[in-house]
């Protein structure tokens, strides 16, 4: 595929991510942190985010399956997830996390379960989107182009 076309596609795709409020300017910050010394910074951070989030989501799923839910623990996990997601700018995940924490505070099991499902959905959405984006970037790089900023 044409590099230029790919580049345009990437730009459009990124724009859509911002438009759909999947990502916010924090992600831009990340991208700004990436330089020739740190060519894979964004991918590294995001990978770490994926890894961490998956762990947390698993923990949360497990914690909410318990007979006696340890809301403190759940809250701690959600807090972590919220911190991570806000750090990479995955704002929709972050927003659900806020609602999630409120449910925790109310010890609302049903609410927590709903939030967990939402968080999972949002997470997989952002993951898919970011992965697609990275793929595009790789394609561009493979085609010899540079990533448009």
């Amino acid at each position: 595929m044409d590099v230029v076309q790919l580049q345009r596609q990437l730009v459009d795709y990124k724009a859509s991510l911002y438009n759909e409020a999947i990502l916010d300017e924090q992600f831009t910050q990340l991208q700004e942190l990436q330089d020739e010394n740190n060519p894979d910074f964004v991918v590294e951070v995001v990978s770490l985010f994926f890894e961490d989030s998956e762990r947390l989501l698993n923990e949360l799923t497990k914690a909410l399956e318990q007979q006696n839910i340890d809301f403190k623990r759940v809250d701690a996990h959600v807090h972590q997830l919220k911190g991570s997601s806000s750090s990479i700018g995955a704002q929709r995940v972050q927003k659900v996390c806020i609602a999630f924490r409120n449910c925790c505070e109310e010890q609302n099991v049903q609410g927590c379960l709903i939030c967990l499902q939402q968080v999972k959905n949002e997470y997989s959405l952002v993951k898919t989107k970011l992965e697609t984006m990275f793929k595009l970037e790789q394609q561009i790089l493979a085609a010899g182009g540079s990533i448009p900023v």
Partner: protein, 1016 residues
């Protein structure tokens, strides 16, 4: 008395009849059991009827009352009267018939007489009558005679008058008249006779039909019948009046005389248990008016312990009032005893059954548990095999060329895999021990080496500033026999535990011989005899190959040495401490003649750690138990380690105990019996012997060295053994490794061991190396046959090659080598990063950059020296890895390198050790949050001491590391990083001593502003 009133009446009216109800002939007979009071006799009735030993006692007067006034009595009486009347009537009727008959006959005869006179004719006369006496009693009772029937069997012969004179002559008529006259006379005579007979018959009848006699007969028969029936029955029959005084009593086995009974109540007669009860029971019947049965056990002086089944029925007067009770008791003592026995038996059977059920259930549960455990073990085993595959494949993969991301992923994979493996191994061990499958091996080993090696291994993976030391007392034999693998496992477990819970100070092992402990002495008698008896057998067995006497034990070292010299008189020096050889082969091959001796060695593993609260001690060795949930969170672990240690120690016949003081440290002590052997000839089997000639000194030092220490943070001389010159020899290699970017000094040290220590250690330490690098493997195999020390120039060379190789392989191999050691002891939560960043690599700045960017570095003392004084020191306290990564990256772009710690406790420790110009503090963190950490730091700044921190459980900083005392205490700017959550309000941050706050997510701009504001 009620009855007294009626006495007169009775006597007036009924004496005749009733007095004869109890026949006199019975009453006076002492042998008879019925004793009837004579009415109207002496007024003192009791005195009169007193016949010793006679069981039947009757208050006759009362009996009269009874018969008259009770329903039964009166009905019986009425019946008797009726019966008598009936018989009387019958007799009268018969008599009347007879009279009628007679009078009719007489009329007839008179008529005939007239006829004869008139007609001179004689006619046949009919005569009938019955003179036989007739009983007035009919067949009411079967033993009574039949009432005779009237019979018409009396025939009066009638004769024709015969005259032989000629008819109708004077003579004829004269004769005829004469004959008729005679006949008439005879007839009159006969009539006379009949009359007489009639009179007689009437008289007879009168005499015979006396009702009294009849009744007496009846009663006598009844009495006989009763006697016949009751003769031997163990019954007591009695009647008591309204006040429960005995009026009548029949007792087959009298033990009291009647004057003692009649007129008295039960309570007045007897004393003892049961009497009152029976009295009450009778009263109850009396009140209720309903007959009842009850079993009462008497315990009286008179007849001992007896149980009676008592039947009591109320007696009513005609007016329907209760006037007393009839009482019948039967001795059922034997039956009750039998019954009680039966009940007891039944009870026992029930209990037995219950026990059986319980036992069955327990067996069932045990079986289930066993099955579950077996299941767990099997599963663990099943999991382990594929997992090992995964882990080793991952290890192999890690040697291939990978980019950074892949490496990170792989590291996670490896460390997680190792953790799971460890967990599964723990579970397997535990279930093995519990199900008794665990088999102990008896092999020869050297305790000093084990201690040293375990410490080395621990030091290699040490991520803390701790001193590890080992003391082995001189009296500990050089070689003992035991299950070295298990002992090493216990020791490793205890030491890694100690390290885990010790943040500062030291962890050490002490080994010394002790007397046979008391717990072992119980079984020692048996054991020793068993030993003696099986000595012969033992000789064939592998484990008891050699032994020594007590005297040998005392002078063990000297003799040992001598033994060596003697055995190797040709110049063979004592063999190298090749663990492989002693462990696997020698024990089996040796068959010494000497009996084995047991020596008890005590091993203390002590630390200066956080200690164990007293209340946690009892559960310390329980499975899955940790001191507290907090500890579990903070320190991780499965809680299986100590349980396994304890079970292993006990399996080997020893004891594991612990003593501890909170904040001061803990000491785990295990005492184990070992067999010892003096035989030193085993070394002749050692293929290394000849080649080890030159290593005499070093080897002997090695064998007998009693003290090992692993100092922290002293590169190059990490391992010191007293009297050993090895450290110096080690130096070049160590440095060489340091240059080749080994991750920290400890792992360098451990890595250097393969070329310098015995094969056993090489094997263990290098097992992963083997997989990872064929060059290393080559070194290893060659060193197996070489001297264990670095004396030999050849290993040096080889290790140099090895180093070169490492240079080529660069970080890959580094990681690989450090992985097993590190991950084996590393805490789960930080394993991802710890391996790569346990410490900052020193030399090349490029490397440093790489490691900094690739991951966050944990706080390290080495890092301090890197920071030039001109650069501000910044500490980031943040638990979220992503945040750390982002912040670090931003800071880097701003030109700052930062130290990172993960929680408040670590933050305080870091501040204790270093001067920071700025602290970026997350608020919400595990273990200790940012607010508390800030308070503690502020407290230090105000007071100049860390007392508040110590109170919160954070150790004092090592004074040697920093000249804290001289350090001017100035206020460090602490910037909170808040997530804008309700719990992290800005006010709270300020209230806890924070200077400012940055809301998360941190942005480049925010950080920049913050730094500009707080860094000069």
């Amino acid at each position: 008395m009620v009855c007294e009133m009626e006495t007169d009446q009775i006597e007036d009216m009924d004496v005749e009849v009733l007095s004869s109800m109890w026949p006199e002939d019975i009453g006076t007979d002492p042998g008879k059991q019925f004793n009837v009071e004579k009415p109207g006799g002496d007024q003192d009735m009791l005195e009169e009827v007193n016949i010793p030993g006679d069981p039947t006692i009757v208050d006759f007067k009362h009996l009269l009352d009874l018969t008259k006034y009770t329903n039964q009595g009166s009905s019986q009486l009425a019946y008797l009267v009726k019966h008598w009347e009936y018989k009387q009537a019958n007799a009268v009727r018969l008599l009347r018939e007879e009279l009628d008959n007679l009078s009719r006959q007489r009329q007839e005869s008179e008529l005939k007489k007239l006829e004869i006179i008139e007609e001179h004719r004689f006619e046949e006369e009919r005569y009938g009558g019955d003179k036989r006496p007739i009983s007035i009693l009919d067949e009411v009772y079967d033993f009574w005679q039949e009432v005779p029937r009237r019979k018409n069997d009396v025939v009066v012969p009638s004769k024709r008058v015969e005259i032989d004179a000629e008819f109708d002559t004077v003579i004829y008529w004269k004769q005829r008249a004469m004959q008729l006259e005679k006949m008439l006379e005879a007839s009159i005579q006969r009539e006379q006779q009949l009359k007489e007979k009639l009179q007689e018959s009437i008289k007879n009848l009168e005499r015979q039909t006396s009702p009294v006699e009849e009744l007496s007969q009846i009663l006598k028969r009844a009495d006989n019948f009763l006697h016949f029936v009751l003769q031997n029955a163990p019954v007591v029959i009695g009647h008591q009046d309204k006040e429960l005084r005995y009026r009548f009593i029949y007792n087959h086995f009298p033990s009291l005389q009647e004057e003692d009974i009649l007129g008295k109540t039960d309570v007045e007669i007897f004393t003892g248990s049961g009497v009152k009860e029976s009295q009450d029971f009778k009263k109850e019947v009396l009140e209720k008016g309903l007959p009842a049965k009850r079993e009462i056990t008497f315990e009286t002086e008179l007849f001992g312990s007896k149980t009676f089944l008592i039947y009591v029925e109320p007696v009513f007067s005609k007016a329907g009032e209760t006037i007393g009770v009839n009482y019948m008791g039967m001795d059922v003592t034997d039956q009750v005893k039998k019954r009680e026995k039966m009940a007891k038996l039944r009870e026992e059977i029930a209990v037995q059954k219950a026990k059986e059920t319980e036992l069955n259930r327990t067996i069932h549960i045990t079986e289930e548990t066993m099955r579950a455990k077996q299941m767990l073990a099997t599963m663990s085993h099943e999991i382990r095999s594929p997992l090992s595959g995964v882990v080793s494949m991952a290890e192999i993969l890690s040697t291939t060329k990978l980019d950074k991301e892949q490496r990170q992923l792989l590291d996670v994979m490896l460390s997680s895999g190792d953790l799971v493996l460890q967990l599964i191994n723990d579970i397997l061990d535990l279930s093995k021990v519990e199900s008794g499958v665990m088999k102990l091996e008896a092999t020869k080993f050297r305790p000093r080496e084990v201690v040293r090696h375990v410490l080395q291994t621990a030091a290699a993976s040490l991520q803390k500033i701790l001193t590890l030391e080992g003391h082995v007392a001189d009296d500990v034999p050089i070689e003992v026999i035991g299950d070295v693998l298990r002992i090493r496992q216990i020791l490793t477990n205890l030491i890694s535990n100690a390290i885990k819970f010790t943040h500062e100070g030291k962890v050490g092992v002490k080994l010394y011989v002790v007397a046979e402990p008391p717990f072992a002495k119980e079984g020692s008698q048996n054991e020793s005899t068993a030993n003696q008896s099986t000595t012969d057998v033992a000789k064939e067995e592998t484990c008891t190959s050699t032994s020594q006497t007590n005297s040998d034990q005392k002078g063990f070292h000297g003799k040992k040495r001598e033994g060596h010299c003697q055995n190797h008189s040709l110049g063979d020096e004592p063999g190298t401490p090749v663990m492989n050889g002693t462990m696997d082969g020698d024990g089996d091959e040796e068959q010494s003649e000497l009996p084995a001796t047991t020596v008890w060695i005590r091993c203390d593993v002590y630390d200066t750690g956080i200690g164990i609260p007293e209340n946690a001690l009892p559960t310390l060795f329980k499975k899955y138990m940790q001191v507290s949930a907090d500890h579990a969170r903070k320190y991780g672990g499965t809680g299986l380690g100590l349980a396994i240690c304890k079970q292993l120690v006990e399996l080997m016949g020893g004891r594991l105990t612990v003593s501890s003081r909170v904040h001061c440290g803990s000491t785990f002590t295990f005492i184990l019996p070992y067999k010892v052997s003096l035989a030193s000839g085993d070394h002749s089997d050692d293929p290394d012997d000849l080649s080890d000639m030159a290593d005499h000194d070093a080897t002997n030092d090695d064998e007998t060295a009693g003290f090992f220490q692993f100092q922290p943070r002293t590169l190059g001389s990490l391992f010191s053994s007293n009297g050993s010159s090895r450290t110096q020899k080690l130096m070049p290699q160590t440095i060489g490794f340091a240059n080749s970017h080994m991750l920290n000094g400890f792992s360098e040290n451990s890595y250097s061991f393969p070329t310098t220590t015995s094969n056993g250690r090489t094997k263990e330490m290098g097992s992963s190396v083997e997989d990872a690098c064929s060059v290393v493997e080559a070194v290893e195999t060659s060193s197996e046959t070489e001297s264990p020390t670095s004396h030999n120039p050849e290993p040096d060379k080889e290790s140099a090659i090895c180093i070169d190789k490492h240079h080529q392989n660069d970080a890959n191999v580094q990681n690989k080598v450090s992985n097993p050691e590190l991950s084996s002891c590393s805490e789960a939560s930080r394993e991802v990063d710890s391996k790569l960043n346990t410490s900052e690599p020193q030399p090349s700045p490029k490397k440093q950059d790489q490691s900094v960017t690739s991951s966050k570095s944990t706080l390290n003392c080495n890092g301090e020296s890197l920071n030039s004084n001109s650069k501000p020191k910044i500490l980031l306290v943040e638990d979220n890895k992503i945040n750390v990564m982002v912040t670090r990256s931003m800071m880097k772009q701003l030109g700052h390198t930062i130290d990172v710690v993960n929680n408040g406790v670590e933050a305080v420790s870091a501040v204790q050790r270093n001067n920071y110009n700025l602290v970026l503090m997350d608020v919400c963190m595990p273990v200790m949050d940012g607010l508390q950490a800030t308070r503690l730091i502020r407290s230090f700044e105000e007071t100049g001491n860390w007392d508040a921190a110590a109170k919160a459980g954070i150790e004092q900083p090592p004074l040697s590391s920093e000249s804290l005392v001289n350090r001017p205490v100035k206020r460090i700017p602490i910037i909170a990083m808040t997530a804008n959550a309700l719990s992290e309000s800005a006010d709270e941050c300020y209230a806890n001593g924070m200077d400012s706050f940055v809301s998360k997510p941190v942005t480049f701009q925010k950080l920049k502003e913050c730094l500009e504001q707080y860094l000069p």
